[in-house]
């Protein structure tokens, strides 16, 4: 589901608490700060597992917290894909590389592991990307492909989808 809330840490916590109250399980939280975002509002996509028939209760609780729900999509899955990038990751601005994914609003880098043997040598990193749909994942990987080409990095993709 897609939630809209005031851009403050307390707001997010307020939104997340009712989920566990109704026995839900949060799988992922994806922030998206839209360019020219309106009045400090924050868009958050929350992917969760919810026990049968607890959705109405959750919606009620969230509304009481002042959280505005934009859209509720059922049966949506969460996609995860792990890739490895090799090259001069720091010289080519790793945070920009990550931001190219995070700024899309439909995918995010949820984990990052780095290995740097020496300053002048190429480093290796493992990135786990999350998205809500398979199409979004394909788009995110396509972005990484073109960033890799642009920055002369070697992108290693997984052979198969991993849970």
């Amino acid at each position: 589901m897609k939630l809209e809330m005031k851009d403050s840490p307390g707001q997010l916590v307020a939104a997340l608490r009712p989920i566990s109250d109704v026995g839900g399980n949060i799988i992922a939280v994806i922030h998206q700060r839209e360019p020219g975002s309106h009045d400090g509002l924050l868009n958050v996509q929350i992917v969760l597992d919810l026990p049968e028939r607890r959705l109405d209760e959750l919606v009620g609780l969230l509304q009481k917290e002042g959280v505005h729900i934009q859209r509720i999509g059922r049966e949506r899955l969460l996609y995860r894909r792990t890739v490895i990038m090799i090259g001069h990751l720091m010289h080519t601005d790793l945070s920009d590389t990550i931001d190219r994914i995070d700024s899309t609003g439909f995918a995010e880098v949820s984990e990052l592991a780095m290995s740097m043997p020496a300053i002048s040598e190429r480093s290796s990193s493992r990135l786990t990307i999350k998205s809500v749909t398979k199409e979004d994942m394909e788009r995110a990987i396509e972005i990484l492909r073109s960033v890799s080409q642009e920055k002369d990095l070697l992108l290693i993709e997984p052979l198969e989808e991993m849970a």
Binding site: T82, P117, R122, S124, R126, L154, I156, L159, E160
Partner: protein, 328 residues
Amino acid sequence: MKIAVIGLGSVGRGVLETLAGKNIGLSVTGIADSKSGYIDPSGIDIKKVLMQKKKTGRCGDAGVTAMDVVREADYDILVEVSPTNATDGEPALSYMKTAIKRKKHVVTSNKGPIALAYKELKALAKKKGVALRHEATVAGAVPVFHTVEQGLAGNDIRAVFGVLNGTCNYILTRMAEEGLTYEQALLEAREMGYAEADPTYDVKGIDAAIKLVILANTIWGNGVTLDDVDRTGIDRLTPEAIRLAEEGDCTIRLIAEADKSSGLLRVSPRIIRKNHPLVVEGSLNAISIETDLAKEITLIGKGAGSIETASAIIGDLLFIAERYGRRP
């Protein structure tokens, strides 16, 4: 049936030694290497020729060329096992065409002509009513084409995934096992005789891409070429990258991938779970075939070697002998 053998290197010798050692029912009436040729319609004494080749470096008379043997010897099947030329397939391509035009079957391990001119050769063979078989061109001893064409007859082959280059697989295995750098593992592969002095064809994924082109052309007849393959080699891999993959119970292998519906052809290093059937050790090859009926089938075996590659050639020869040969 009678055969003529062009090329007496590792593969050619393996074929002849096998024929000399097993009673397979094939006689050799022509033989050639780069410098000589020998024709004997009554059957060549294989052991004698092998000995002479070892001693003198020649298998026959300097006055007889390989093309002479192809053109004039009395044989039913041409065994073409001369070196691969990936640029224009020659001179092997001409040997094959000449033989087919003479209504002779062709069996080969030579990737060049098959990757470059499969459609043309196949059409010519059909017109002349003879067989063209090339089991040994992809994954050495592994009978992938017998599996696809006979064993999986009636299946719709949807995709193929393969570990098709033993040198790359050896290097990646050693990097993973010992934490070697790419350069160290390559050096070791050379010392073990797995890598050529110039490893470009292997490590840049060109050899695997050529084999992928052969697979796609044979299975789907789609006429794809080397330029259609999206290709990345293994020469920029780091041991750290492999370690990062291994932390997630995965590793990195050079995978060739062909997909029927999307037309995708790709050779690239991929993150793959360690218990995936394509994760094989050392210089082994592996091919996974995805079909509508059988679902997934994986074949694993030796991708090179004198006798191992000869096994694929012998399989093709006996297939032809059974299908086209006169029965007693």
